[in-house]
Every structure is written in structure tokens, then in C-alpha cells.
């Protein structure tokens, strides 16, 4: 029978049906970080259980790690104790930890793929909702909570109910200045922040097929912002070429055998999807969020909505929190901070694209701008190309790898009512560390342009602008 990738991978990993009707699903790869794991390890110890598959469990520190000075012990005592707890747990159970001394530390969703741990056909779990990122490789990747982290440590399994599958076909050529980030923001804007509840999103179509793995990761990353816990792209030659030669990828003949298996997992052309949605890539524009959830976005040349009565309570609440007027244009919104980084857009190609915009210009005087590479490897590769110098010369801070101002658990955060142009994934109230801080989500290129202009600008016209505008 024709099946989707989701169904094939789900069936392959099904251990049994549990008495309560849930499926016991084997987890092929478990990724662990410092924030959602300490309580799970503590319960494991309390119940006297071992970690079942330390060989399939990998850890890193990303959420709270400072990105400026990294001398241990960290100045923040809680950050220090969470980091040491993870180190102690990894030592105790024999789990490989990618800490800064390895040169491979980074955001968990950046290093999994980088190491070649993330592969097609796996079930992947991590105590982080953006685990959907790994679906870019044709894996079924779930964000889980701490009690489920404990379950996976103890049994290498999860108790779950299957999801429906919605195929989202994106066809056509993306216009200049329009990126994967704009595609996913548009999808969320169209289907809503809860449109994906109960679904896995399968991204397909010729636009997706032409995308690099970095771009596919950006799209799958934000599935959760659309309410879909899982997002994936069927594996193809682009996937295989990305994996070839990575530390944990198979090599030699095993790699060829792996490719055959991976290919066989792609959704059958006559599979039945629970829903199909189509999007025209050529019609998309750079997209910017104006509100307090990622579905509240407009094209950069568009205007904010006008709430139509009480049915639009969400719009009114967002406008009030943001201090924006109904119907105002988004372009021209003054910013205070520019943040380039995160598991959505903190990879090498994102930094390259932002640097291309920044090169030869200066960050506006009133703007605090920082670039936080997604991993140490991304940082090293970027430095080799001289991207750090491009950013520094323009007045950006160039930082160490981590989550940083995406959620501000480390010292990088907004102050007061600051407005931040951010390449991250969430614009929730308080997300970037100040309870009243404001976030505008956009592509890294758009963040770069906003940093230079000091306000939201259209990167499509900015990139053709003469350097004379710099530094205003």
C-alpha cells in the first residue's frame, strides 16, 4: 500500500500498541541539552534506571551558555550549575557531550545535522520544540517535555499517538530577496499558529526540491510555530550529498546502502495525504512579523491589520503590546537591536547572506547588533571566509555559539521596550528577555538591512541602494 514517509518511519519504529491505545515508538536518536534534562536525569537516578542507549544519546550546551566570555565557572551561578549537572550526568551514563572544549558545541538543532547524526528515516526526540528542524532530512523528529526525556533515557521509547499528514507544496521561483524564512512565515500566516495541530507537515514541490539543506532546516524548524509538532522533507540527492563525509554518517559501501534505504522511505507518489495545501513561491515577498505570535506577519511593503471588532481580540492585544497603530506600514518601524542567529537562521549560509548585505556599510548609530553563530563549526567556517570581519567592521558584535537572544537565558537580552529585528523564530511577549521587549521576526538578510538602516526596510531595494545611505 502506498504510504507517506511519516507512515513508513512510524511503522518501522513501532514496538507495540500500549494498553491505553498509544503507540510505543522506538527513538533512533535522542538529543539532550542543559535546560530540559536535569529533572529527567534526577528521576532516572531516583528510580534506579540506567540510560538504555547511551550510544544513541548525544548532548550539548546551548540555551544558557554565555556567548561573550566563556570562562568557567560562569558568572551566572545557575548557568554554571545547570552546565555542571549535564556534564556530571553525561559522565555518569557515558553520553557523548559536545561541549565548547570539543570545538563542536552549538545549538542542538545545528550540531545534529552537522555531525551527521541526523539522518533520513530516524525517529528523533529532544526536549525542545524546534526538534522539528531535523525533519529536513526526512526524519520524524519530535519536541518533547522533560518527563518524556526521562522516558526516552529509560526506555529509548515514547508513548505517542500518530499524526495526520498535510502536504504543503511550494512551487515556483523565489524572487530575489525572498528566502526560506519568508516561505515558512507565509505558510504560518496562511494556515495559522494552530493550523498544524494534530498534523505532521510534509514540505514538497519544486521550490523545496531546489532548496539547500540549510533552507529546508529553516522551514522545518518553524513547523511548530504553525502548530505542527513534526515537519519533514522527503530525502533526495541534496540530503545525501550533505551527509556524505560527516563524522557520524556511514561511509564507503555502507553509505551507498544507506542511500538506497533512505530513498525507499520517501513518500510514495500515490500516497494519501490527509490534506494538501499549495503555495506559489513567485508571489512571496520578504515577510515581517508585527505582533506577538509568528502568525501575525505582513509583507514588508504591507500594512498592519485593523482589528474588526471583538473577534479580533488577538489583533488588538498584539497592537497594544507592540505599541503599533492599526493600519500603519511595517516598513519604517524603528529598531533598537538586531539579532542574527538561532536554530532557524544561525547557519553558515544565513551568515553569508547577511554579510553580503552588510559588507561595506555601518550599523545605524542607535542600533545594538549582534551575530551569534549556531555552532562552533559555523563560527570557524565563517571566520575562515572573513565574515566575522565584515560584521565587526560594520559594528556588529561577533559572538560564540549558542541560543543567546533567541530566548535570552544567557546575558544577551532586550532591555525595557526595545524593538528587535530578529532572525529567530518566536515573537512571544517577553521572549527576548525583557517582559515588555518587542520582537520582529524576519530573514537574516532583512535583519542585516534593518541593522544598517536603523528601521525595517525592504531588502529588495536596499541591496541595490548605494553605500551612501550607510551610517545614517
Amino acid at each position: 500500500m502506498a504510504r507517506t514517509l511519516f507512515q513508513k518511519v512510524w511503522d518501522l519504529h513501532t514496538v507495540r500498541m500500549l494498553p491505553n491505545g498509544q503507540t510505543q515508538l522506538f527513538i533512533g536518536l535522542h538529543l539532550v541539552h542543559e535546560v530540559t534534562s536535569p529533572q529527567a536525569f534526577a528521576e532516572l537516578a531516583e528510580r534506579g534506571w540506567p540510560v538504555r542507549r547511551p550510544d544513541r544519546t548525544f548532548a550539548t550546551v546551548d540555551h544558557i551558555i554565555p556567548t561573550a566570555a566563556r570562562v568557567r565557572p560562569f558568572a551566572d551561578l545557575m548557568a554554571e550549575s545547570m552546565t555542571s549537572a549535564l556534564e556530571a550526568n553525561c559522565r555518569k551514563y557515558g553520553i557523548r557531550l559536545f561541549d565548547p572544549s570539543t570545538g563542536s558545541q552549538g545549538i542542538v538543532h545545528v550540531i545534529g545535522p552537522e555531525q551527521g547524526l541526523t539522518q533520513p528515516g530516524l525517529t528523533i526526540a529532544c526536549g525542545d520544540s524546534h526538534t522539528s528542524t531535523h525533519g529536513a532530512f526526512g526524519a520524524i523528529a519530535f519536541g518533547i517535555g522533560t518527563s518524556q526525556v526521562r522516558d526516552v533515557l529509560a526506555s529509548q521509547c515514547l508513548a505517542l499517538a500518530p499524526l495526520k499528514v498535510r502536504r504543503i507544496e511550494v512551487n515556483g521561483t523565489l524572487p530575489e530577496g525572498v528566502y526560506a524564512k519568508d516561505v515558512i512565515l507565509s505558510i504560518i500566516g496562511r494556515l495559522g499558529v494552530k493550523g498544524g495541530t494534530g498534523y505532521a507537515y510534509e514540505y514538497a514541490g519544486d521550490t523545496i526540491a531546489r532548496m539547500s539543506m540549510d533552507e529546508r532546516m529553516t522551514i522545518c524548524n518553524m513547523s511548530i510555530e504553525g502548530g505542527a509538532r513534526v515537519g519533514y522533507v522527503n530525502p533526495d540527492e541534496t540530503t545525501f550529498e550533505f551527509l556524505r563525509g560527516r563524522p557520524y554518517a556511514p561511509s564507503g559501501e555502507a553509505f551507498d546502502r544507506a542511500c538506497d534505504w533512505w530513498r525507499s522511505l520517501a513518500s510514495d507518489s500515490d500516497a494519501e495525504w490527509d490534506d494538501v495545501v499549495r503555495l506559489d513561491a513567485a508571489a512571496l515577498a520578504p515577510t515581517v512579523t508585527w505582533g506577538i505570535n509568528p502568525g501575525q506577519s505582513v509583507d514588508v511593503d504591507g500594512r498592519l491589520p485593523k482589528p474588526a471588532g471583538s473577534a479580533d481580540a488577538g489583533v488588538s492585544e498584539a497592537l497594544e503590546f507592540m505599541g503599533f497603530a492599526a493600519g500603519q506600514p511595517i516598513a519604517g518601524t524603528r529598531i533598537d537591536v538586531a539579532f542574527i542567529g538561532s536554530c532557524t537562521n544561525g547557519r553558515l549560509s544565513d551568515l553569508r547572506e547577511a554579510a553580503r548585505i552588510v559588507k561595506g556599510h555601518r550599523v545605524a548609530k542607535h542600533v545594538r547588533a549582534l551575530v551569534v553563530p549556531g555552532s562552533q563549526s559555523v563560527a570557524v567556517a565563517a571566520e575562515r571566509e572573513g565574515l566575522d570581519a565584515v560584521f565587526r567592521d560594520a559594528g556588529f558584535d561577533w559572538r560564540g555559539a549558542g541560543c543567546s537572544m533567541c530566548l535570552a537565558m544567557n546575558p544577551d537580552r532586550l532591555e525595557g521596550r526595545e524593538v528587535c529585528a530578529s532572525s529567530s523564530n518566536r515573537n512571544f511577549k517577553g521572549r527576548q528577555g525583557s517582559p515588555t521587549g518587542r520582537t520582529l521576526l524576519m530573514s537574516p538578510a532583512m535583519v542585516a538591512a534593518a541593522a544598517l538602516a536603523g528601521e525595517v526596510v525592504d531588502v529588495r531595494s536596499w541591496s541595490t541602494e548605494a553605500p551612501a545611505l550607510a551610517g545614517v
Binding site: 507495540r16 491505553n20 519536541g143 518527563s147 508513548a159 499558529v193 534505504w261 505570535n293 511577549k429
Partner: protein
């Protein structure tokens, strides 16, 4: 078999109404309170920033209204708990004293995390929720009784149907919501599944 679950059939007590769609986990428990290696004490910070901002506006957040102290039922609207996978969110709510949440819809990870700690999230229609919210706001001493067996919520003279996916409901009613015990049981079946996954042997053949 090791399990620490108990049967959860119903929850009963006064209600605290929190209006608004898409209330995310950053609002339920801001990230700075995730700097901890236990879940203890999280209840003190539930909705902290929302509560502070509401107080500044002169309209106390429902969690600060004296009449709602000691409530066991939380009444919300659509897509409650969207955003991050932090279990700290349902933990903070449960530790504050909430034993059941009724809403129009819940974000999936939040729903699952709540189930994992024995906190039922049941859904009701938007129209019924409007009545329940108003009732909790205007007559805060009303006892809300959520009964999973009959799928009904009774509050004062109101009786409204509430639903939950069957597997979750059965897990709560039979005391199997802490699935860890079930999962670590019969590990030989897990090994049989693992044996058919070529990536675990490095694609050796």
C-alpha cells in the same frame, strides 16, 4: 511493572478564568525561571510577567484575584500552551493547584506534557467556554466539576460536554498516564524493533 500513576477520573473546585487565544509557554512561565534543576517553586512564577503587567494596568490578572485563590480548574480559550516544549509550564500550573484545564484547544506538546504529569486538558466548544468564563468571573465561588468518565463539566446550573482523545482519557482513567513503567517493561520487544533498523548497525549489510 513500575508505575507511580493514580487513577484520575475527575477534578473539582472553584475555577480561575484566563481569557485569550494563543497563550504561549513563555507567558505561562518566562524563560528566566527555567534556570533551575528542579521543578520546585515554579508555581510562584506562573504567568509572572502577565500578572505584573495586568497589575500595572490596574486590572489584576485572574491568578491574583483573591476570589480565585485555591482554584483547581483553569478555564482558557484557544491554542493554549503553544510555543516551547518546556514542561515547566504545566508543572507551574499544576503546582499552583490546578487539577484540570478546560479550553477550546491546546497546543500538542503542552497537552502531552500535561498528560505526562496527570493534568487533564479537556476541550469544550467556544460558546460553552464563554459561558464558563463568565460564570467563573461573575460567580467565583461556583464549584466546577470535570468528570472524565461521563465527559461532562458541571458548574452551577451549567452542564457542558467536554472531550479528550480516547487514548489520553483512558491513560488517565486507568492510571496509566505515567507511561514510563509501560515503556521500560518488556525491553526485549524494543530490542526486536531495534534489530530491524539498518542505521543501528551502521548499514553493515
Amino acid at each position: 511493572m513500575t508505575t507511580r500513576s493514580s487513577r484520575i477520573e475527575h477534578a473539582s473546585g472553584t475555577a480561575v478564568p484566563v481569557r485569550g487565544d494563543d497563550i504561549d509557554t513563555d507567558r505561562i512561565i518566562p524563560a528566566r525561571f527555567l534556570k533551575t534543576i528542579t521543578f520546585e517553586g515554579l508555581e510562584a512564577h506562573v504567568f509572572e510577567d502577565d500578572r505584573k503587567q495586568a497589575a500595572e494596568h490596574g486590572t489584576p490578572h485572574p491568578f491574583d484575584v483573591p476570589a480565585h485563590q485555591g482554584a483547581h480548574v483553569l478555564v482558557v480559550q484557544g491554542n493554549f500552551g503553544c510555543g516551547s516544549s518546556r514542561e515547566h509550564a504545566p508543572q507551574a500550573i499544576a503546582r499552583w493547584g490546578i487539577q484540570a484545564i478546560v479550553g477550546e484547544s491546546f497546543a500538542e506538546i503542552f497537552f502531552g506534557n500535561s498528560l505526562m504529569i496527570g493534568l487533564p486538558c479537556v476541550t469544550a466548544s467556544r460558546a460553552d467556554l464563554e459561558k464558563l468564563l463568565t460564570l467563573a468571573e461573575t460567580q467565583p465561588t461556583t464549584v466546577f466539576d470535570v468528570d472524565l468518565a461521563s465527559g461532562q463539566l458541571r458548574a452551577g446550573s451549567l452542564v457542558v460536554p467536554v472531550t479528550m482523545p480516547d487514548a489520553a482519557r483512558e491513560a488517565l482513567r486507568t492510571g496509566n498516564w505515567d507511561a514510563t513503567g509501560l515503556l521500560v517493561d518488556r525491553y526485549e520487544e524494543v530490542e526486536r524493533t531495534a534489530a530491524r533498523l539498518p542505521y543501528l548497525s551502521g548499514f553493515a549489510s
